[in-house]
């Protein structure tokens, strides 16, 4: 439900990048969405579309890559994919873990058309 807040941050982040580059058009935005981020890809896309009807990202396409969550076993240090609960270390069967990734929502890169300096 907080996808709109995330998309607002996305636009601010990209606009800061655009300020320091000569960009005429943004074609694609690549976003990584962690499995434990509580952000729904469909809702992110919907918010992105609604918020880029005008402005500097008008017409840009949002490409979402889903990222799995990874836990680290606190007993033996093994890192393993978070699939279903309870989490059990595949190596030593310990149930003591910390989550090391999967909560992130981050913008990787953008594809854009650069302006010629004398345009």
């Amino acid at each position: 439900m907080h996808e709109t807040a995330l998309m607002k941050n996305l636009l601010t982040t990209i606009e800061q990048v655009l300020d320091s580059h000569h960009v005429s058009r943004v074609n694609r935005v690549y976003l990584s969405v962690g499995q434990l981020s509580n952000a729904l890809p469909e809702a992110l896309s919907f918010a992105f579309e609604a918020m880029t009807r005008e402005g500097r990202l008008q017409g840009a396409e949002l490409i979402i890559e889903n990222r799995p969550a990874v836990a680290r076993c606190e007993s033996c240090g093994e890192e393993y994919r978070v699939e279903k609960f309870p989490l059990v270390c595949p190596t030593c069967r310990s149930t003591s873990f910390i989550i090391i990734s999967g909560e992130e929502v981050y913008v990787q890169s953008i594809d854009c058309e650069e302006k010629c300096p004398d345009d």
């Binding site: 907080h2 509580n38 929502v105 981050y106 890169s109 594809d111 854009c112």
Partner: protein, 221 residues
């Protein structure tokens, strides 16, 4: 066409402000609890009942998150504890900046404990660090025993869970031990407490004791 690398977490700004909040709380020796739970779980009722007990020994203030009303802050103020209300105007969670904006209204030097009651919602608040020391999830037995399995992320990120309204157990299908098992399966480190209303008395002594000790531990560090 050019590809520009950005590599920026969209919660980076929030996380940075949360770090600043946490440093500020540490500098003033204030212990902070972020309370999360569904609407109707009993978060405000829990606070109304534990605050008089906590304020016997600790100096406490509360920040209330709500979409639209002042109701909860007014309820808290009746216990004699200072309460600040944040209205998110439809926003589904509190973020670190909203907390930072409230801090100028609080005298942190005369506080031991700050309790933040997040917006009633078991999904979004879990994703936003506020700078707290403890994340507490409140859920009532009336919500059904499988609530933790349906909302795993809130429990995955919790330090404590308080199961409220256990006096209703004789009248409903929920098995509180199954509920506890679900919580332990998601996050074995969560400390689980229960509360009940019995003969007009709200029973929450264990969690009150736990909070007191947690505050003292931080202050002795």
């Amino acid at each position: 066409m050019t590809r520009l690398q950005i590599n920026q977490d969209l919660k980076a700004l929030n996380n940075q402000i949360a770090v600043e909040n946490r440093e500020k709380f540490a500098a003033h020796n204030v212990y902070v609890i972020n309370i999360m739970g569904s609407p109707g779980a009993g978060k405000t009722t829990f606070l109304e009942n534990i605050l008089p007990k906590l304020s016997l020994e600790l100096r406490v203030a509360v920040i209330e998150g709500d979409l639209a009303t002042q109701n909860d802050a007014l309820r808290i103020e009746k216990t004699g504890v200072q309460a600040l209300q944040i209205n998110t105007a439809g926003g589904c969670h509190l973020d670190a900046k909203m907390i930072k904006n409230q801090l100028s209204k609080l005298d942190l030097d005369v506080l031991d404990l700050l309790i933040i009651e997040n917006v009633g919602n078991l999904v979004c608040p879990a994703a936003w660090d506020l700078g707290e020391d403890q994340r507490m999830v409140i859920l009532s037995v009336a919500e059904g025993e499988d609530k933790p399995a349906k909302y795993p992320i809130a429990f995955l990120k919790a330090d404590t869970a308080v199961i409220t309204k256990t006096d209703l157990l004789p009248f409903i299908d929920t098995d509180v031990n199954v509920m506890k098992k679900y919580i332990a399966e998601i996050n074995p480190k969560v400390q689980v407490f229960t509360t009940a209303l019995k003969d007009g008395e709200y029973e929450a002594d264990q969690v009150v004791q736990y909070i007191r000790e947690a505050v003292r531990r931080k202050q002795c560090r």
